[in-house]
């Protein structure tokens, strides 16, 4: 009798655990998946096409840093109930917060342009003009955010992100050299050329994107998570980051196996998709295109959201997605402005989108440094975080990650100025 009771009790506890996890899942997975946006896809494709499997370790280290800092940001959001920009103002004052916000807005507009460029490229593969695809996409996702309730938005976005399995299939279909991939993942080598360092820096900047850090914190707050949810939120963060890494891995591997082997170069993500056609068949290219479109739409809905959260926080007007437009004009106004400006830029006839795409990822990496230092400082402050302050092994690891990223950015500065 007693044995049966214990068995039932353990099963009930497991089920309660899964339900609790399901209730919390969202911020980590969404933030992680949205890292595989068109800018990321292009960067990873270039990484694979130009350097084969040899720079996979940069991706691995970037994902490691992603886990550390996404966890810290989610933790800060849960413990304080505030977003990242708001906490920067609280800890470092109005001027530094304003400076950070300004650079964040510039970088976010740039990356949002890249997302719409991704929409244009993906649907361009099917012959649709950017003057049709981009405005429709912009209106569609804006309506989703403006009219939908929080839960509906979250569910739709998570569903969209299911398209990413296309990359994994694409990677397998390309028939890669797994042994070389394993070596590239664990053996760090880096040609000391400007191009290689630029690609490595852009990989860091696109994986550990500043807007992603702000987003995961704001989303954890909006989802009203509490300290008791911390354990499940950590799982959510790790799952999201690992998914970023896995998808990124398969993009690199797919391009390494095809484009690098054949010596083809790529100029953007649609080049990567189109180039896969003769080498790996029609299916591979179509799947790649579908994944690209899904990634673009997901990131295009999150980026303006993240920026709107940050603007509100710096000015002291905290908002939630469930607030109506009349209740939160600054929030929705910022969202609309980011979308409109980005769409206009992308629709300029003949505008060179690749420089925007790449430049903004390098800018992301440069912007990362002050932001990571802010995150480190705030997370370590017991006045703000209490018993949940960042200490011990995680504190050391986060410092090491910041140092490595600093070295990367400095190396880029050095080779750019020579």
């Amino acid at each position: 009798m007693r044995r049966r009771k214990t068995k039932g009790g353990a099963r009930r506890r497991r089920r309660a655990g899964f339900i609790a996890l399901a209730a919390v899942v969202g911020p980590g997975v969404l933030a992680g998946l949205s890292d595989d946006d068109p800018a990321g896809i292009t960067t990873y494709s270039i990484l694979g096409a130009k350097y084969g499997y040899t720079l996979l370790w940069v991706l691995l280290l970037s994902v490691g840093a992603l886990i550390i800092f996404h966890e810290l940001c989610a933790r800060m959001g849960i413990v304080t109930g505030q977003g990242l920009a708001g906490l920067v103002r609280e800890r470092y004052g109005v001027r530094l917060a304003a400076g950070g916000l300004f650079i964040l807005i510039i970088a976010n507009i740039g990356t949002t342009c890249a997302e719409f460029a991704g929409v244009a490229a993906a649907l361009g593969l099917a012959g649709v003009s950017k003057y049709i695809s981009v405005p429709i996409a912009a209106v569609g996702i804006s309506l989703l955010v403006l009219k939908g309730s929080f839960h509906r938005i979250e569910r739709v976005l998570l569903l969209l992100s299911g398209v990413f399995v296309a990359y994994i299939i694409s990677g397998f279909l390309a028939g890669p050299d797994w042994a070389a991939a394993a070596k590239g993942l664990f053996v760090p080598t880096l040609p000391l050329t400007r191009e290689a360092i630029l690609v490595a820096t852009a990989t860091v900047g696109t994986t550990l994107a500043p807007w992603g850090l702000a987003f995961i914190q704001s989303y954890a707050v909006d989802k009203r998570l509490q300290p008791k949810d911390l354990r499940y939120e950590r799982i959510d963060v790790i799952v999201g980051a690992v998914m970023t890494g896995v998808i990124g891995f398969f993009i690199v591997v797919a391009c390494a196996a095809t484009l690098h082997e054949s010596g083809s170069s790529i100029n953007d993500a649609s080049d990567a998709a189109a180039a896969l056609k003769p080498l790996a068949g029609n299916l591979s290219a179509a799947l790649f295109g579908a994944g690209l479109l899904g990634a673009a739409l997901l990131a295009a809905s999150i980026l303006p959201l993240s920026t709107a959260y940050s603007v509100g926080e710096v000015f002291g007007y905290e908002t939630e997605l469930d607030d109506s437009v009349r209740e939160a004009p600054l929030f929705y106004g910022t969202y609309a402005a980011i979308v409109v400006i980005s769409v206009i830029i992308v629709l300029i006839p003949g505008i060179p989108l690749i420089p925007i795409l790449f430049l903004t990822q390098a800018l992301n990496a440069i912007l990362l440094l002050p932001l990571l230092l802010f995150i480190y400082g705030i997370s370590r402050d017991p006045d703000i975080m209490g018993e949940y302050a960042n200490k011990g092994k995680v504190a050391i690891l986060s410092m090491i990650a910041i140092a490595l990223i600093g070295v990367c950015v400095m190396a880029l500065a050095v080779v750019s100025l020579i």
């Binding site: 304080t80 109930g81 004052g93 109005v94 300290p227 017991p382 006045d383 703000i384």
Partner: protein
């Protein structure tokens, strides 16, 4: 007098020699509108020193004059029940108890009263934020943008803990239902609600 105008202003001794810059002001929450008990000065050579209020001769937004300097002033350390106005209040998120909302402090209002500097309240106007960023003049403040110190509760970990211990704290005036409404918006502050239920009435 606004805190943001005082912070970083020069600190001088009686012979007008510069000692450093004002870094912060310390209050202990022993009254609904507590007085400043000490000033924190960042010395030009780099260290941070604490001077008790009795050593302060004059306070203006152009500068602060200290009347007597101990030959060995204390290296600054925050006491357990001490609140630093720039560090813990300025730009912090607060619960406006009267307005039943969560807002952020744009500036701290101080008034001079019989030789002391008293903490009166806070300003939450967006115009003040813009002014501190260097974008625009300081405007005349609307009543809706001013919150009396007795009507607010700090939400940071330290601020919350310190304020809860004062029976004068405004948070104790909120009914459980009013607190619950705030907690609904910011579930993190459930601590405040349960502390309220335990606190002496």
């Amino acid at each position: 007098m606004n805190l943001s105008d005082l912070i970083r202003c020069p600190v001088l001794d009686t012979s007008e020699r510069r000692i450093g810059k004002l870094k912060d002001l310390i209050v202990t929450l022993d009254a609904p509108h507590p007085n400043v008990v000490a000033v924190i000065v960042r010395v030009d050579r780099g260290s941070t020193l604490r001077f008790p209020w009795k050593d302060v001769q004059e306070v203006e937004t152009t500068g602060i004059t200290l009347s007597a300097i101990d030959s060995t002033p204390n290296e600054f350390e925050a006491g357990e029940k001490e609140l630093l106005l720039a560090r813990h209040v300025l730009d912090s998120q607060i619960i406006d108890i009267r307005g039943k909302r969560v807002v952020r402090v744009a500036d701290v209002d101080l008034v001079r009263r019989s030789g002391k500097l008293r903490l009166a309240g806070v300003d939450i106007a967006i115009g003040t934020v813009l002014h501190r960023m260097g974008l625009g003049r300081r405007r005349e403040r609307l009543p809706a943008h001013y919150i009396d110190w007795a009507d607010l509760h700090l939400t940071s970990h330290r601020g919350h803990e310190i304020q809860l211990q004062t029976t004068a704290a405004g948070i104790h005036r909120l009914s459980a239902d009013e607190l619950a409404a705030i907690v609904k918006r910011k579930p993190r502050y459930k601590k405040v609600l349960s502390a309220r239920r335990r606190a002496p009435s």
